[in-house]
Symmetry: C2
DNA sequence: GTCTATAAGATGATAGAC
DNA sequence: GTCTATCATCTTATAGAC
């Protein structure tokens, strides 16, 4: 929990493992081997696996938040913002067929410690809130078209993208993901 | 692998555990305790966890296949078929907040034995093929409206429904799932 | 078919030397 | 900060009695 360079490397390894194998699909031994350290050393940086999980999610949320801010800074067009948002997911999937960290933890949800669960919920809340704003603004500007509350549409987009990642991993296809993402965006007029 | 009544009970317990905790989130001890048996006894019915996993998926695929056949027998209207298809997912989620067995195994995919992976792939293939037929038939009958190949639209529906289940479990809401499913179906005119 | 007993290894975690 | 040593517990799995 000191958060030096080693802690960061531990988080990197752990995140990769969670994204490809799930929270219960790896151990401290896996991380230690990858970094050339001993298991005991990891406990100095993250006293327990729960603490590690929470740190993982906190960092992921912060990075995602920054990525969303970058999108807002890059373009003010709603369609383009949605396209870039979908690309965020695609780049994760293309990186060694990884699942979204948060989608993976959503699957492992019932086995997670409270603080980790809370982080997972917050991730989805943040994402949906951001998307809802983009959707509503885009609709008012006449750039997007959909019925009903923007919040509900945001939930559908997040669900669709997470599900597309999930399925794509077992049917081997970033290709399939792209096509599905395209269709999802098309359904809101983007 | 003898498949008597006990084997069936083991599968029931194992399926429930996988659907709520993931394939790496439970052990033979959990099943044994639930059934009032000893761990060793389970190995008589399913020699290894991999074999158990495969049996689990085989049964699930068969049941799903039967459920799809039942839908076809109940109505010939494409919209109604899609509605019932979505209800299949909803009933799983409503049952103790479970995830689709196959969606959960898609998350655990990289940790699964080959035969289990193959079953997972087949599940998605079967589902998408069935949906594509319903979609195409419905479009020709003027009951559904969507652009592009029915197969691509089928992938989107499966992805959307699986993702909606995944997210709903962490944000506690069969309610949310229903709303999302409704919107997904609406996007194909149902 | 189910049990006891047992194995061999993994797992998350701690104490204390360096 | 990282190490060795050690821990209690869990995990999948097998052998053999009943």
């Amino acid at each position: 929990m000191k958060h030096g360079a080693t802690a960061e490397r531990i988080l990197d390894a752990a995140q990769r493992l969670v994204q490809s194998r799930g929270f219960n699909g790896f151990s401290y031994a896996d991380i230690a081997e990858e970094l050339g350290l001993r298991k005991a050393s990891l406990h100095y940086h993250f006293e327990s696996k729960d603490v590690l999980g929470r740190a993982l999610m906190a960092r992921y949320r912060e990075r995602f938040r920054a990525a969303l801010a970058a999108i807002e800074g890059a373009t003010s067009d709603a369609r383009e913002r949605l396209r870039r948002y979908a690309k965020l997911y695609l780049s994760v999937l293309r990186n060694e067929d990884r699942m979204c960290l948060c989608g993976m933890l959503a699957a492992d949800f019932t086995t997670l410690a409270r603080p980790v669960r809370d982080e997972v919920r917050r991730f989805f809340d943040d994402n949906e809130a951001w998307l809802a704003r983009v959707l509503e603004t885009g609709r008012k500007a006449g750039r997007l078209a959909f019925k009903g509350p923007a919040a509900a549409e945001a939930v559908m987009l997040v669900s669709g993208l997470e599900g597309a990642m999930l399925v794509a991993r077992s049917t081997r296809g970033a290709r399939r993901f792209e096509e599905t993402a395209r269709r999802l965006l098309a359904s809101v007029g983007a």
